[in-house]
């Protein structure tokens, strides 16, 4: 078990090393056999470990492989922690990761840098698995930064394209801002508790009371949440994620929808003993999540680029997960993380299939009627869209419904506001998703006549992956049935991780009002269906196109341009920083002060040397004169000393 566990992250690392070092010389099939083999084997191992894990008397395994860093009383181990939470994450990451690797064989086949792509993908898998399996915060942070690096490398995969290179940089820099908060939080955490190990730390935290006002736990958790807003693309640091769509579509599916961006959700859930004792932070988590969910959903309404719609949808769904965390329903957050991984990966891969069929056309204005040409893609995308819209009994219905119910019934401050915003976001989500479906697959095709016969369904590996993901998106919700329907397998499985919480206990003992719950469910489904119906009216009945939306005038312009947030950040932050950097830090501090000091020191030594060498003029008599002066000096010295 111990060594099996280690091989789960190590296999993808091995794949990265092989493909990274020798991939250029290897034939393409071998490259993808290595990469997919490594992740596939990793998934199999995770499955075997899962099976053994279920049979353990106590479902908790911590293995310390070696002491990684030791300095004074600061100790960080290289150790892995397997508990229900990391087990679920490892299964989702390896499972979805493997499927997307397989899909990439078809999608990236014609690309140069085939080996480079798979090497980065495997490195990403390694970093992500380290993140979810780490047994202490420092190792988690290693994975956290590792996935950030891979995200940067893969967004900028087409680095010869200036927009892709800029998007990569943007992602990296925006994440740096969040990570700064995370690092400060880590330092504060260590200073307070003298440990970064999860189990030791949480045992200490368990003895602390719930902080009624701002205290050290609130400070730490807020700083951690700053890190989470960066990685998981929440207000105000969400701006990098839509731009990250410059990367290849499998990257968008794996990193920027299914796994990496959920790292913030995982981290908050992992830190639940601390968050549970900091209600102030939880309020902010929920508020930011709810606002992001609505805000990003509105931007998604008018986007024309098929991948951008999905990107804003991802931001919005991540907001949903934070709403769940904010009301203390950690298991529900993880549940939505899982179902989202299924249906969002499916939607991204489906859009990738469309993009590939249309030779890298991403504007929905130029699509339409594609279900005739891409039957498998259309069918699976339909399932994904129904799932995200929350239509029963698909996966999204159960997880979204559970979030709404917890937001409605939870006792946390502002929970009804969160509930209202989340319900609104659910309606918007259903609308923009079906706008995408109708504009892409229905109506008359707007693909130019001469290019229509080039459209054909994607190769077998891709459609097979779409089918598997569609199955997961359809059936994945049954692991988390609501109380009135059956056992919630996932929540029961995760229960030991979240059990020590005061708020969880309170929630468990809260009276379960069946009528209320059914009403909430009904409202959620109704809102989703209303969104779908509105989309059908606008885009099927009336046959509206993205170009027609311009007639909405100023509102459309504002939303289409993403509320000019990027421009605002540019004016308010980027340009002042660039100005200060150039006119002050560069021209005055660097060129003036630093260069002045360095060059001045050199010039001073030169001047002194130049003066001193004049003494050596080659004339014997001068030298003798100095000898005489010296002799007289020594004589006088002796005279004064002994005279």
């Amino acid at each position: 078990m111990n060594s099996l566990l280690l091989w789960i992250p190590l296999l993808p690392l091995l794949g990265f090393v092989l493909n990274g070092l020798f991939g250029r010389r290897l034939p393409k099939p071998l490259v993808h056999w290595i990469a997919c083999g490594a992740t596939g084997a990793s998934f199999l191992l995770a499955a075997i470990v899962f099976q053994r894990f279920l049979n353990l008397p106590e479902r908790l395994v911590q293995v310390v492989y070696f002491r990684w860093i030791e300095s004074g009383d600061f100790v960080a181990n290289f150790g892995l922690l397997l508990d229900p939470l990391s087990m679920v994450m490892a299964l989702v990451v390896t499972g979805v990761g493997f499927l997307i690797h397989v899909y990439s064989i078809g999608y990236m086949w014609a690309d140069d840098g085939y080996y480079r792509f798979f090497a980065y993908m495997n490195l990403f898998m390694f970093a992500m698995l380290m993140l979810v399996l780490a047994d202490n915060y420092l190792l988690l942070f290693l994975g956290w930064e590792g996935v950030g690096l891979c995200s940067y490398l893969l967004i900028g995969f087409y680095f010869h394209k200036p927009s892709a290179a800029a998007a990569g940089k943007k992602a990296f820099i925006v994440n740096r801002i969040g990570d700064f908060g995370f690092v400060v939080g880590l330092v504060l955490l260590f200073v307070t508790f003298r440990t970064l190990d999860f189990r030791t730390l949480f045992a200490q935290v368990a003895a602390l009371p719930v902080e009624a006002h701002y205290g050290v736990l609130t400070a730490i958790t807020l700083l951690f949440f700053v890190g989470a807003t960066g990685k998981s693309a929440q207000i105000p640091l969400y701006v990098w994620l839509p731009d990250a769509m410059e990367g290849p579509t499998p990257v968008s599916a794996l990193i920027h929808a299914a796994t990496m961006v959920t790292a913030g959700v995982y981290m908050v859930a992992r830190s639940n003993p601390m968050y549970g004792r900091a209600p102030e932070t939880l309020f902010w988590v929920g508020l930011v999540g709810a606002l992001t969910a609505v805000f990003a959903a509105t931007i998604g309404l008018f986007q024309r680029d098929i991948k951008r719609v999905l990107a804003y949808s991802t931001v919005s769904q991540l907001g949903y997960m934070f709403v769940a965390l904010g009301v203390g329903a950690y298991a529900t957050g993880i549940f939505h993380l899982m179902t989202h991984a299924f249906f969002k990966a499916l939607l991204f891969l489906g859009s990738g299939s469309v993009i590939l069929a249309l030779h890298h056309e991403q504007d929905m204005q130029a699509m339409g009627g594609l279900r005739k040409y891409l039957p498998v893609t259309a069918a699976t995308m339909w399932i994904g869209a129904l799932a995200i819209a929350g239509v029963p009994p698909l996966a999204g219905f159960f997880s979204k419904d559970e979030i709404l119910w917890h937001a409605f019934s939870g006792g946390a401050r502002g929970h009804l506001v969160f509930f209202g915003l989340a319900t609104l976001a659910a309606g918007l989500t259903a609308f923009y998703m079906f706008r995408l479906i109708f504009l892409t697959f229905h109506g008359r095709t707007r693909v130019p006549e001469d290019r229509r016969h080039h459209i054909h369904e994607s190769p077998r590996p891709m459609t097979a992956v779409l089918a598997v993901l569609a199955l997961l998106a359809a059936a994945g919700g049954f692991v988390g049935l609501p109380a009135w329907l059956g056992p919630n397998v996932l929540a029961d499985f995760l229960q030991p991780v979240f059990a020590q919480l005061p708020s969880a206990e309170a929630a468990a003992h809260a009276p379960h009002d069946l009528a209320q719950e059914l009403a909430v469910t009904g409202a959620a489904v109704l809102v989703g269906l209303l969104g779908i119906a509105a989309a059908w009216l606008a885009f099927v009945r009336r046959g509206a196109l993205p170009d027609d939306e311009k007639r909405l005038g100023a509102a459309h312009r504002l939303v289409f341009n993403k509320y000019y947030i990027d421009e605002l950040y540019d004016r308010a932050i980027v340009r002042p920083l660039a100005w200060i950097s150039e006119s002050w830090l560069w021209r005055i501090v660097d060129a003036g002060l630093i260069d002045g000091l360095v060059n001045g020191a050199g010039a001073l030594a030169g001047a002194l040397g130049d003066g001193a060498r004049r003494v050596q003029n080659g004339l014997t008599r001068t030298y003798l004169g100095w000898v005489a002066v010296g002799a007289i000096g020594v004589g006088l010295y002796v005279l004064f000393l002994f005279g």
């Binding site: 060498r613 004049r614 050596q616 003029n617 080659g618 004339l619 014997t620 008599r621 003798l624 004169g625 005489a628």
Partner: protein, 101 residues
Amino acid sequence: MPIPSLHVLILSALLFAIGVIGVLLRRNLVVMFLCVELMLNAANLALIGFSQRLGLLDGQVVVFFVIVLAAAEAAVGLALVIALYRSRRTLDADQLNLMKY
């Protein structure tokens, strides 16, 4: 009636000063060389003066050593002067300034 030590020392000091000034001011290498000899002999005179004053022979012994050394030095020094004159056709110390910065 022995010569008072003070007189000997004054003469020695004068001779030494003349030697120093000669070395510093004269430009002909041969004359500078002579002046160095003068300084050596001024030192010899002072040694003899002390020897007489203290009634010890040590000073006189040192003087013999100095004379022998001066002879050797003169041999080497004059050889150098001749070699220098052959190559440079001058013995003006101010013209011999190639060994500078």
